[in-house]
Symmetry: D2
Subunit: 293 residues, 4 copies
């Protein structure tokens, strides 16, 4: 638990994410509902995925005195009085409860350490509660951050057992799994049972160079920019909804080793942005793509 992350401006605040088939009167109903309960709308961002018959999507941040106590009733009433009428799917997240996050890593440290460091200095609206690795290598580097580091080796034979151990550590204790350069594929069974979203960082500008060794592939193909992609993990490797991407320029002078270093700088900021946005409840799934408010 990192008290520095307690942002005073999140007190009594909630984020409401909504989507449904577009139609008239939705915004008026939602805002009237909130206003009637003394909520003040601090920020709102609304859009349709297509002006003609698209999907209505909206994110509202509101402040309401006594939010945490009133939340269960609020959700129930919103479902009955507003959501049902418009076929609205919605979720409300209280801003003052940081999401609990588990970090998975193998041997490469830059994404892991960057998240830990941002968290320690109060940049990330999360609690990092667990680091899980299939290697012991990074235990010492993590030690200074007061987060338990568990080494769970994974081989072909032990994979099912290893995932079972992971599930036992995580289920009900975390809200998000982040693969910070974890070089193992999670089984669809794991994804179904862990009960939280998982975000992965892939070291290429997807869909280019999916799979292994993307920087070597990039050098081989002679591209002039390399990139990184943070995406939700789905059963299909490197095919999940993309949350954020960025790129850096390279030249013929750089070896694969130098490109890898250059790319690492992009990977860590792209992953940090994706985790921040997810945990600020800014990301809404829309089919296999994301809407980032």
């Amino acid at each position: 638990m990192n008290d520095g992350n307690q942002d005073p401006s999140t007190r009594d605040c909630a984020r409401l994410l909504m989507s449904c088939q577009d139609g008239p009167g939705i915004v008026a109903s939602v805002t009237a509902f909130l206003h009637a309960r003394g909520a003040n709308i601090i920020q709102a961002d609304q859009n349709t995925t297509d002006p003609l018959g698209g999907e209505f999507v909206q994110r509202i941040v509101f402040q309401m005195p006594g939010l945490l106590d009133r939340l269960p009733a609020l959700e129930r009433e919103f479902a009955g009085e507003v959501a049902e009428r418009f076929g609205l799917r919605f979720q409300v997240y209280p801003a003052e409860i940081p999401k609990r996050v588990a970090l998975f890593v193998s041997k490469i440290d830059h994404c892991l350490l960057d998240l830990l460091w941002r968290w320690r200095r109060g940049e990330l609206p999360i609690d990092i509660v667990q680091v899980i690795s299939n290697h012991p290598d990074l235990e010492k580097a993590v030690a200074g951050f007061d987060v338990p580091y568990v080494h769970i080796p994974v081989t072909k034979a032990s994979k099912a057992d290893a995932e079972q151990q992971q599930i036992e550590l995580l289920r009900g204790r975390v809200d998000l799994v982040v693969l910070a350069r974890y070089m193992q594929v999670l089984s669809s069974d794991f994804l179904a049972r862990v009960g939280t979203p998982a975000i992965n960082i892939h070291h290429s500008f997807l869909p280019a160079f999916a799979g292994a060794g993307p920087y070597a592939q990039a050098k081989e193909r002679g591209v002039k920019l390399v990139g990184a992609t943070a995406h939700y993990v789905t059963e299909d490797l490197d095919e999940g909804p993309i949350i954020e991407q960025d790129v850096a320029r390279i030249s013929h002078r750089e070896t694969v080793r130098e490109i890898t270093r250059r790319g690492a700088d992009i990977e860590r900021v792209v992953l940090a942005r994706a985790v921040t946005w997810h945990c600020d409840d800014r990301v809404l799934l829309n089919g296999n793509t994301t809407i980032v408010f």
Copy 2:
């Protein structure tokens, strides 16, 4: 008049820009007002400039059958029923009426031609009704675009007369003046009398290198990036509210001439973005800064 610019999706649409001291109930009142008149909110973006006691700012795009005929009454009623209560400043712009734009230019063509070309291919939501230059040089280049080109020379002695001629050409006939590399300073008298906003493109990343010869200044100082800034014109040269900026990387290898070419690519896109956003009613003044929705 360029029929290609008539975007079907703007039919019956209006953009409502609002700002006031933040407080509860504003959004609910606005949306209830619109809903009661059968308006459908297509897009909305709301924010406060500061969570504690800041300014409420919002842009709403709505569609309402028969908008153009109903607009005068709508504005009157909105003023009486909503705006007055919250001290709300607001403006409503019908999206299907493109803004009429005059372009000012001296001898350098890239910003001018880029705007004309984007307009001709239907990229800009405007009507370009006049080009005014203090030089005759670009008349031929403009000829193909079917826009009147007026040459009004400006000397120290003739400046007041020249501005008078400009005012007579423009007043009541345009909604926006764009200085597309116009190398004369407009007097505060002109700005007051022309009755429209004016947007200028300055060829530096302001506030760095205000004034003359910014690329030479940039070379002299040895910066590693050069930029361009589109801003509203105010009495204070290069000090007006910034709408958009961008930069490009340069190296020691480039001469001032090459930097100037490199910068030109940035200037034209920065100016095109600023003009587009202004004419899409996305820009709200906030003191000496802008909010770009």
Copy 3:
């Protein structure tokens, strides 16, 4: 012929592009050879593709009085005295002779007009001698630039004939073919017979979204950046050596139409850079990749 393109600083200048298996003494031999003939080296850039047993690559710009007259002898002597000894492949290009360029286009104008406009204002070190289109649409837009526009329709049945006409127009009269959004695939027979390199602009960040409709593919996949790629044309569509790439950020708010507009700004600068670099003799082929000095 555009006299404005005659850059005085190119007088008596040549660019020497070289590559061979790396080894000691190459640079010393080359520079001694040039010095013995009174040449002054203005710029040089040398590299190996791999420090251990890689390829030596170098670009030298030198100035030598009477260059154009002396060039044939110079090449002969360089081949005999230097190149043969090191197995050096080389080419010398006199900088004061601009490359003759043919532009191919279909109906979309932004890349074509951008090249024509840059050429007219003296930005491109080329002569544009011909525009060829499989459609008549852009004839009027090209008219102001004093370049012949030839409409050669292409259907499945007429393709061989059409290419024959193109070859007759071009062979021996141009040094470079640029496909500025030309929506036809050139046959390998054409590429072999035209006798010049060809540069294409593809509207995606290759290798992502090769083939048709890349912006729609990008929207579908939900990427956060779209890009453009300029590459040499080879028999394998969208697989040729990449010269330049760049990207622009998009969001969920943008439709395919808006993404297409955004991408157009990237396409034209990427293509202009690639053409400039090729015509400045800065691009060396290295397998299926390029070295851009």
Copy 4:
């Protein structure tokens, strides 16, 4: 000492930085000199600051068996046989001897930790031998990196004494001083006596927003991008030769606190690049600007 930084490819390699009034024969003489001693040129980059009567500048990386032992004689001979003739200023740096670096910091950790972390993972071609701070706050964060942390408080009254202590710690023991967010101005006396270059990171895109509180200044002025600048420290605060700069986009939605976080990501990469380039002997001073090869 970090053995991981020993890059095998630097063995027997040296970097030669040269500048002088341009003229014929310089490159030929330099390369003949190196070739005669069995040196192999691995990389070379040469330029003139101005084609007409500018400054010749060149960086050569060469490999020569037994370099370290032969270096003193090589320098002497090069001075006598080549440099004197052309008025050439030069320096030779053996690549296998990493520069010894001292880091100065106050309370803000991101630049400091980023350099330490890059160094630990073998990204930086340096040895970090000392951290000096005017505050005790970051001692614990540095502890894991096995670098001595010395707390030397600085007040107006104690400044001269403090600088004397710093000098005693550093003189003859370091090759570079890096101000990684050190909130004290170094006196010109210190700069003269420490005998090494010093690199500072300033958290703005200089020359915009020099002095204190640049992010607050940026917010106040309403710029659309914020930046960071790494520069050599001179007597004139924020006026030294710029080595590297970069920027990040911000919007009206971000508070000064959020802009500060966003900027921190830029600061650390800009400083890391500047330190890397300096320590790779890629940076040549040219008046008050730098040439970065």
